[in-house]
């Protein structure tokens, strides 16, 4: 590494080392370079002090969402956490996500999320769909598809984090995914019952932490969750509105319910 880029500063990192059952914070001193991020510091530790230090990462450019961790208590991507945001004498505390079981050091087992994803009815266009789509109709969906699956929103959500409702609550990431499907101009499936009775969108009390931590600046709460909640209201909590809609015949089109594709259970 070029000498000239050094800042002469040393940072102290307190990194969690251990498993789900046993572990402790270990301190490391790392020289700080211009533009350095926490992931660089972790790599420095790995290369110079401890090749065993477990960390998940891929692109180092905030595009893959692998290096999720909690830096000084805030869920963030390590590749986006600049070292110059910390004071000189400040200990930088790096620990794994709380909501998913630690495998080792900074690596957690996020496989639950993949299990949830399997149960969401996939994109279901009509066989005879007209694929002329205008930009204004997909901009909303494109925002949701920016998601890099870093699972920081799942991690910060208190329903999953503190209340452990992994039995019944899909979490923000999958509400974003469902929003991307439900609002797709050509999708014909109806996932509203799923949202209410399986994903339990009602558990969300819109306290917006998911939006706060999203590294892709997706307005998870305002643009995905709340519009979905309103669609669930249309279907299940607004008898008057439904009555009037039925009376008028037109209004909101009733989507044909498409049967979810069968999934081979994992062994």
């Amino acid at each position: 590494m070029p000498e000239s880029s050094g800042t002469g500063r040393q940072a102290t990192l307190k990194v969690y080392r251990g498993t789900k059952d046993k572990g402790e914070f270990q301190s490391y001193k790392v020289p700080v370079e211009a533009g350095m991020v926490v992931l660089d510091a972790i790599h420095y530790i790995q290369q110079n002090f401890d090749p065993e230090l477990a960390v998940r990462w891929n692109c180092k450019a905030a595009k893959c969402g692998s290096c999720s961790a909690e830096v000084n208590g805030m869920p963030s991507l390590m590749c986006k956490s600049r070292m110059d945001q910390f004071k000189d004498d400040e200990d930088i505390c790096v620990q794994p996500l709380k909501t998913f079981p630690i495998i080792k050091d900074l690596v957690t087992d996020v496989s639950w999320n993949y299990e949830v994803n399997k149960k969401i009815t996939p994109f279901s266009p009509a066989p005879d769909a007209d694929w002329t789509i205008y930009q204004e109709d997909i901009e909303r969906v494109q925002e949701f598809r920016k998601c890099i699956e870093c699972f920081l929103c799942q991690n910060v959500c208190h329903v999953l984090r503190d209340h452990e409702r992994k039995d019944n609550f899909m979490g923000p990431r999958f509400m974003v995914r469902v929003a991307g499907l439900e609002m797709h101009p050509l999708d014909e499936a109806n996932r509203l019952k799923y949202l209410k009775d399986e994903g339990h969108i009602g558990y969300c009390n819109i306290t917006k932490c998911c939006t706060e931590v999203c590294p892709e600046d997706i307005h998870i709460t305002d643009n995905a969750i709340i519009p979905l909640k309103e669609r669930v209201v249309d279907e299940f909590y607004d008898p008057l509105g439904k009555f009037i809609r039925n009376l008028l015949g037109g209004g909101k089109k009733t989507k044909a319910s498409v049967q979810p594709v069968s999934i081979t259970p994992s062994k």
């Binding site: 251990g18 789900k20 914070f25 909690e70 000084n72 208590g73 869920p75 505390c93 620990q95 794994p96 709380k98 909501t99 079981p101 630690i102 957690t108 087992d109 639950w112 949830v116 399997k118 149960k119 007209d130 789509i133 205008y134 109709d137 910060v156 208190h158 329903v159 999953l160 984090r161 503190d162 452990e164 409702r165 039995d167 019944n168 101009p185 050509l186 999708d187 009775d197 399986e198 994903g199 339990h200 009602g202 558990y203 009390n205 306290t207 932490c209 706060e212 931590v213 709460t221 305002d222 709340i226 519009p227 309103e230 669609r231 669930v232 209201v233 249309d234 909590y237 607004d238 259970p265």
Partner: protein, 266 residues
């Protein structure tokens, strides 16, 4: 509650959050995360006390053409038998609109219910949590009905404001009139940036321009875009309109005591 089909994982295979030893306290955050919820709780409480005081006061709400937003529309003449202050006939509407508002829900779930007070601050744990899925919070789903009621009340406030411009057969203008109009503008920005409104005017549609819709939904698209503009700043509209309502009422209260305070311009 029945086990949902969220995943195929058996109960004992569900992951659990990490407890020890990295997470001993409620949070590892080092910043002053408690400031924001505390401040919000303080302002809400202050507003609540003030509005209750004003509602019970049953006095000093109308002078000349000026009518306090807490008492508008004044229904006293229609229900003379009503024993309490006429403010109660009307206050439940804005109150329920704000209580079920998606922004205020966030604010008070954090500040009063501490669910959670701030991100990654876990005050309460436990598996029984069902959020807005069951009673009483399931009632939050009626937000759109509160919106339906709030719109006419807002229109009446606009009428009130215009009434202060033209009365006694001539045009007038005062500082208080300007304040009342400003209040109406802020309240409109808040009301028409409502998430339920955003959904109803167009957000519920999946495709505005699809060939099969033959341009029918163009107006819905434009309305949805407009409401979205307001909605992006819903929090700011919520706060400024809350404060402007209280200040407008306070101003009218003092004007009732001393009408010269309206600062007539012409």
């Amino acid at each position: 509650m029945t086990q949902s089909q969220l995943t195929d994982l058996p109960e004992n295979k569900l992951p659990t959050s990490n407890d020890v030893p990295a997470y001993e306290g409620t949070t590892e955050r080092k910043d002053n995360w408690w400031v924001e919820p505390a401040l919000i709780a303080f302002v809400f409480t202050a507003f609540g006390i003030y509005s209750m005081f004003r509602a019970f006061e049953n006095n000093l709400y109308e002078v000349g053409p000026y009518l306090s937003p807490f008492y508008s529309p004044n229904l006293k003449q229609y229900v003379p038998w009503f024993p309490l202050s006429p403010a109660f006939l009307i206050l439940w509407i804005p109150l329920s609109f704000r209580a079920t508002c998606y922004y205020y829900r966030k604010a008070y779930y954090r500040s009063y219910f501490l669910h959670p007070p701030a991100c990654t601050v876990g005050m309460f744990k436990g598996k029984g949590y069902t959020g807005e899925q069951s009673f009483p919070f399931v009632l939050q789903n009626l937000h759109r009905y509160a919106f339906y009621f709030a719109v006419p009340v807002l229109l009446i406030l606009w009428v009130d404001a215009f009434n202060t411009v033209y009365y006694g057969g001539a045009f007038h203008m005062s500082v208080l009139t300007v304040v009342m109009f400003a209040n109406c503008i802020l309240l409109s920005g808040y009301t028409f940036g409502c998430h339920a409104c955003r959904h109803l005017v167009g957000g519920k549609e999946d495709c505005f321009s699809c060939p099969k819709n033959e341009q029918k939904l163009k107006p819905a698209f434009q309305a949805w875009q407009l409401v979205t503009k307001f909605n992006e700043r819903h929090q700011q509209w919520a706060w400024t309109s809350l404060i402007s309502v209280a200040l407008t009422d306070l101003y009218i209260r003092y004007t009732c005591v001393d009408p010269s305070l309206a600062f007539q311009i012409f």
